[in-house]
Symmetry: C2
Subunit: 310 residues, 2 copies
């Protein structure tokens, strides 16, 4: 039996945050359903940001409820603050991904508060969940953005990231994710930082959210695997872009990430060829967007061990 | 002092083997000169294949001699057989890269002989070099193509690759390169195979020639670094293509490979921003070719340690 690894599709959230086309809730749900049929079990389905901030997520509650009705998947939602979390709890989601930035400058630009204020908000979210009696039903994950550097402030001290992770773990995070929001990470840094965070996280599972802005996305996945990380965010076709690097890719590509992990001997449960077929369908909905990814272009190797059940 | 790593530009050979435009010898030499000015010290300048096989290399002798006149660089040439090596020796090159395939099917398709016959040819090349009194002046490297799998035959047994490497080392190879000609390699396989080859190579330096056909090129570089490899072939803008995967990339991208190695703390001697400027010039000479690469698109991170001397 191969060890399992989790690849979480964040395309319907991170992937479409900056695209030109507003997808309908039905399209977003169809996308999730199609990937579920390809074996993807984990999604970040939408974002409970204030609707005036990102028009793409005005339908967040509808998408979240629709995703809940899809069998066999776990649909998380992103929230930037307590208000978003309250809306997510109201919608009945099983998992809330709370994001804050380790870079003070980035956190200020994103949510107009200090990182410590965002940490305080995280505690309020945990308290609110528990007060609603949802402790056993709703997971609250914490993602630390710009954990590997920041386009505004530059270096982000590793000690600061480790200290934030320790605080979030102690405050009750069900998972801690380190995010390379701007594509600055390299494999040596990935190993060092995940290993350091693991030491203070008290057994809380760690996840990686890499962007491929400078081509090191999959090298960073491989490095994270080396130090025990088994949960990875990725976006179909590498959708996502980066507001600070026009024309650059965004998230690591789901198909290629699954290909890497399966090639390394992990079982992701995902059928890459079915995923590539979904990609072609979603591409038709997003005219003018750049679809990245290598396996979709080159096909699987003759030596690739295809799923017996596929 | 940072440890050094060698990135060798193979664009003027592997990169243009399949492009639509035949570059002039002067353009090829200008390309090499421009990259030399960006700090690249090692090149595969041309290929001594029979001129009727690849028209792009009809000027091999002229390019090889021109490259010899460029100060501060080491220009190698590829040869597929003894005859090519003789032409290379005649041209006065300091380094000959002899290629054979570990896959019998691929070797047969490429040079119409068995791998063992190609190994016998390698011995003749070494003997010829020594008979010409060039032992101290001309290095003969051996590259094992399809070392990680083959689009024709599928699996290539690792034991076979290791045995070939051992034979080539014992026969006098000055370097042994493992080539993932078709983009099948993954990081676990890279570590395993390089470590196994290092054990039988008797101290002969190892090099890696990766293609990025399925997106794992830089992850494989990082994995090779982990097991001590410090010499990497790469192609400007990822030029190269793959005859078996239309539209797919070829070699790993020089700019991104340098970015990875410098990010890992190695000194490549190469100025990435100057390299990106060269890329723009070469792009103008190759209309209709796809230029890949992420750093050229996104720019260097704010946290990137630029060369003091640059």
């Amino acid at each position: 039996m191969a060890e399992t690894a989790q690849v979480r599709e964040v395309g319907p959230r991170d992937g479409i945050q900056m695209v030109k086309t507003i997808l309908s809730a039905e399209q977003k749900l169809a996308w999730i359903r199609k990937e579920a049929a390809a074996g993807v079990r984990h999604f970040e389905a939408t974002s409970f940001v204030p609707p005036h901030v990102i028009a793409q997520f005005a339908d967040a509650a509808e998408v979240a409820r629709g995703a809940l009705a899809i069998e066999g998947i776990e649909a998380a939602v992103l929230v930037p603050n307590l208000k978003g979390a309250q809306r997510a709890f109201d919608a009945g989601v099983p998992k809330v991904n709370y994001v804050l930035s380790a870079s003070e400058a980035h956190n200020m630009a994103n949510v107009r508060r200090t990182t410590d204020e965002s940490i305080a908000d995280f505690r309020r979210i945990i308290a609110e969940r528990n007060a609603r009696g949802l402790k056993d039903r709703v997971k609250v994950n914490a993602a630390i953005a710009t954990a590997f550097g920041c386009t505004i402030q530059g270096e982000v001290p590793e000690k600061r990231v480790v200290a934030i992770a320790e605080t979030l773990a102690a405050a009750g995070a069900d998972e801690i994710s380190l995010a390379d929001t701007v594509g600055y990470a390299n494999p040596a840094q990935v190993r060092r930082l995940f290993a350091a965070v693991a030491e203070v996280a008290g057994g809380v599972p760690l996840a990686a959210h890499f962007h491929d802005t400078r081509g090191l996305g999959l090298a960073n996945v491989s490095a994270a695997v080396d130090v025990g990380v088994r949960r990875f965010d990725a976006s179909l076709a590498g959708l996502g872009g980066c507001p600070f690097a026009p024309g650059a890719t965004g998230n690591i590509n789901t198909e290629d990430c699954v290909f890497l992990l399966e090639s390394l001997g992990f079982d992701t449960g995902i059928d890459i060829e079915k995923l590539i077929a979904v990609r072609a369908e979603v591409e038709a909905w997003l005219p003018g967007e750049r679809f990245f990814g290598m396996v979709a272009r080159a096909g699987l190797p003759k030596t690739f061990r295809r799923k017996a059940a596929a």
